[in-house]
Amino acid sequence: MRQIFDILANDARVTPEQVAAMTGLSEAEVRSTIEEAEKDRTIVKYKTIINWEKLGNEPVMALIEIRLQPQRDVGFDAAAARIYRYPQVRFAYLVSGTYDLAVLVEGKSLHEVGAFVSEKLAPLEGVQGTATHFLLKRYKEDGEVLEGGEEDKRLPLTM
């Protein structure tokens, strides 16, 4: 079962038929597992990794460290939810260490991201402080190195 998800996590376009061939499971079993997982949001969504730089309109991204005031009964969850519900927030993780929430914010310009942080995030109740790090270069995304590509360097025929 786990294998089905490993395969799809690496390539969402693999068909149930292909997954069945790769794992030796039956196609019906693969289909029903996937359907089930889509229903209960084990599979949240299928997406594509795009190297936006090649298109010339790379979005501006910033990694923002946020210190939060924990609240009775709900801990950080309520404050976190008020932050991650903004569509500008692409990733949000509760982390250990010197701050509490790490979020990745996306916008069209430096100005837009800066304004979002200072006008929306920083003033929120429970937010004790923020530190904004603008992304300068994307090397690797979801396990894939963006530049270069991995062309086959092997000789075409060997024993």
């Binding site: 294998q3 395969i7 693999v14 292909q18 061939a21 790769m22 794992t23 030796g24 991995e150 086959d152 092997r154 000789l155 075409p156 025929l157 060997t158 024993m159």
Partner: protein, 388 residues
Amino acid sequence: MRNRIAGRLDRIPPSGIRKFFDLVSSMGGVISLGVGEPDFPTPWHITEAAIHSLEQGYTMYTSNSGMIELRREIASYLKTTYDLDYDPNTELLITNGVSEGLDLAVRAILDPGDEVIMPDPAYVSYPSCVLFADGVPVRVPTSCDNQFKLAAADVEARITSRTKAILIGYPANPTGAVMEIGDLADIADVARHHNLMVISDEIYNLLVYDTEPVCFASLPGVKDRTILLAGFSKAYAMTGWRIGYAAASADLIAAMTKIHQYTALCAPIMGQVAAIEAIKAGEPEARRMTQEYDRRRRVMVKGLNDIGLTCFEPKGAFYAFPSITSTGMSSEEFAETLLTEEKVAVVPGTAFGQCGEGHVRCCYATSLSNIEEALTRMARFVKKYRRS
């Protein structure tokens, strides 16, 4: 002047793929199922360890036998994996790949005219190395009816007063065949009964699917007569580093080292450093690659069978060895026509011995999309030429 080239070389046929190599190299858009190495780069922690050692200035010779740390790691690996005891000081030798280990093994044990029994088909170097050592390769036919296993009775039938050794290599190149523990035990019985040596090339031993690797030397009563050859090329995706090893009793290792010290001096130090990192910490990555090969293997084998190229299930290495007789072509004809018409490169089975006729070797150490595209092209090809 007499002939510039030694007559000994006339006895060795040219490699069966040279012609294809030139052809493939001259064409664009070829999907190659003809390689014999992993498509993954060496795991980064291994490469990084070697880079670090180069930065530290480790660029010199090592002892002839290889770095003691590497030999100790190999000894402890063989102990924990197969419960085999080899003394890292006297019973292990680090070689320039299994290729050199194989050459040393046959040169160490063969006198001119000594016979070495080996399967047909088998890895191309086996008969050639024996010939270079002035020995005589004796081929035992194997076939897909028996999953290309070497039958002990067939070996026994070819034993003469000149037989010195049996040379086996399972999981096998080109067939992907494995020998289960019982099959190997039968070979061990023959070796013991007729007092023969065994050279066991276990370079693919970690690359097995749905079955456990067996080390021939771990079978009862054969360790002392066995030269175990293994290496890092395949399981750790380290073909270019050139590191293998031989494990055998001290007299054999001493004899092999005698040749090695004069002809190779030592294996490359950066490769040895990389191998130390691989054997200490490479297992998770090796396992991940093996799992990936296993998925491709299933797709390849199912795909070949679906398009009418009957293929027994290979349980090791990264090769499928389908029958192409449904096309009525010979292996060479098939490989050549497939390459020119559909731009898919495979290796004719006859490159590995006469008994490879009727088969081609398809390596699945390539991306799934390549495998699927190759299968699509091959399906079209088989449909066009299918006789039965």
